[in-house]
């Protein structure tokens, strides 16, 4: 069945089978390997993408079921050579260790900050509770979320002025 998926603002007309997950489509059909695959059973959060502004797990999402939705992957955040504020903050704060969980964490962080650029520590932990970092680098990850939030809240304020 030909399905039109909107990924990072671009339409992709794909002949999809009913059983194909969004994770499989992103990685195997579109070579968007920034979205990682690990547990494949919704436990780890490495496959997190944003759909309509919310963090969603692509390993338990049927791609065919997402026609008409606005899908954003880690590849869609940077604008040319300019990193998204969340990506930049993760680099600046040294929040990346092995890096495997980072795309998922960045997507969850982006979903949080786009809605709430000044989250409390509790709100950060709540928003990131679906993303596991086995390097256990959480303190610097939280630093990065706060740092990105400062940048994004300025962007929000400028937009509102």
């Amino acid at each position: 069945m030909i399905v039109s998926l909107t990924i990072n603002g671009q339409k992709h007309d794909l002949d999809l089978k009913g059983h194909e997950t969004l994770l499989e489509v992103l990685r195997d059909r579109l070579s968007m390997t920034g979205t990682k695959t690990a547990c494949q059973e919704s436990e780890c959060g490495t496959c997190t993408v944003m759909i309509n502004g919310r963090a969603i797990l692509s390993c338990i999402t049927l791609a065919i079921n997402r026609q008409g939705d606005d899908i954003t992957t880690i590849e869609g955040l940077a604008k040319g050579d300019t990193l998204h504020p969340v990506q930049q903050a993760f680099l600046d704060c040294g929040a990346v260790q092995c890096g495997f969980c980072i795309p998922g964490l960045i997507m969850s962080t982006t979903a949080l900050l786009e809605k709430n650029p000044r989250p409390s520590q509790e709100e950060i932990e709540y928003a990131l509770d679906g993303n596991i970092c086995r390097c256990a680098g959480y303190p610097k990850i939280f630093d990065a979320v706060r740092a990105a939030g400062k940048v994004m809240s300025k962007v929000h304020e400028n937009k509102n002025q």
Partner: protein, 283 residues
């Protein structure tokens, strides 16, 4: 490496409730896809075990009439495809509906809450989901539509008494407003990174001074399906609030409910939860 997480299946995406009800009745070997958080993991697990999986998947995601929350002076309507996040963020959760926010907050993780639906949580037939105990305590009515197009409704209590079986499309639940209700909710999970509750419990009553009345105590998880403890309710409705009420209440449990599928430590946790929930209301 090319993944193939699921067996092949035929995907159906009806746009209306009658169409969904007809397909659900006509298709053999079909599973309903709500949020997908239970279903897709189950299908993957069965595939890895070499077990045959459903030939058809019927997605309800395209049916707008199954989404959203509305409120009227007498109660709250939650449609089945409303996500847990949407319920959590709803401005309508006031009075006795506030407990739903606590329940939603406790469910799993953020991406799961963004995907999982009210209907999926209630009808997936897993015994450990969060919503059933609360819906029974709040005396919710569950509404369904079958292939004949005739709406049907049943109390949440009766639905779970029948092991949450249905051959119809669950459309919405209606929860009556009860501005005078006192509610306590308890949920225990094994460890912080395991999101499945070992037990959930909801106590609701209407206090007239210190006198308990119209009490409902519903429990889930270590029980077979969510159900009320009628003996305990009858005792509480004969009682007045006092500091030892929680302790006394433990002598009036319907023991058979807690015996089923419950190991000793779970039974102990139930007792602790019942006692503290009653004490919370008594205070």
């Amino acid at each position: 490496m090319v993944l193939m997480l699921l067996n092949t299946l035929t995907f159906h995406a009806p746009k209306t409730i009658p169409e969904a009800a007809r397909l659900f009745a006509d298709l053999k070997d079909v599973k309903i896809l709500a949020g997908g958080t239970f279903l897709l993991n189950s299908l993957k697990l069965l595939k890895t075990k070499g077990t045959k999986t459903a030939a058809h998947v019927l997605s309800l995601a395209g049916i707008q009439d199954l989404k959203g929350i509305t409120v009227d002076p007498k109660g709250l309507t939650i449609r089945s495809m409303t996500t847990i996040t949407d319920i959590f963020e709803s401005p309508h959760l006031k009075d006795n509906f506030q407990v739903l926010r606590t329940v939603c907050r406790n469910i799993s993780t953020t991406p799961i809450r963004n995907m999982a639906t009210f209907g999926g949580n209630l009808t997936c037939r897993y015994t450990w989901t969060e919503m059933p105990a609360v819906l029974i305590a709040l005396d919710a009515r569950m509404h369904f539509i079958g292939p004949d197009g005739i709406p049907q409704e049943t109390g949440a209590e009766d639905f779970f008494k029948n092991a949450a079986r249905t051959d119809k499309i669950f459309t919405h639940a209606y929860i009556p407003r009860d501005t005078g209700a006192s509610i306590a909710y308890r949920r225990v999970k094994k460890m912080s990174d395991v999101d499945v509750p070992l037990l959930s419990l909801c106590v609701k009553t209407n206090l007239k001074g210190k006198q308990w009345s119209n009490t409902r105590v519903s429990i889930n998880s270590t029980t077979v399906f969510a159900q009320r403890d009628i003996l305990l309710e009858e005792f509480l409705d004969r009682s007045q609030s006092h500091p030892k009420l929680g302790e006394e209440a433990l002598k009036h449990l319907t023991v058979s409910i807690y015996d089923t599928r419950s190991s000793e430590y779970k039974q102990h946790m139930f007792r602790v939860c019942i006692k503290t929930a009653i004490e919370e209301i008594s205070r």
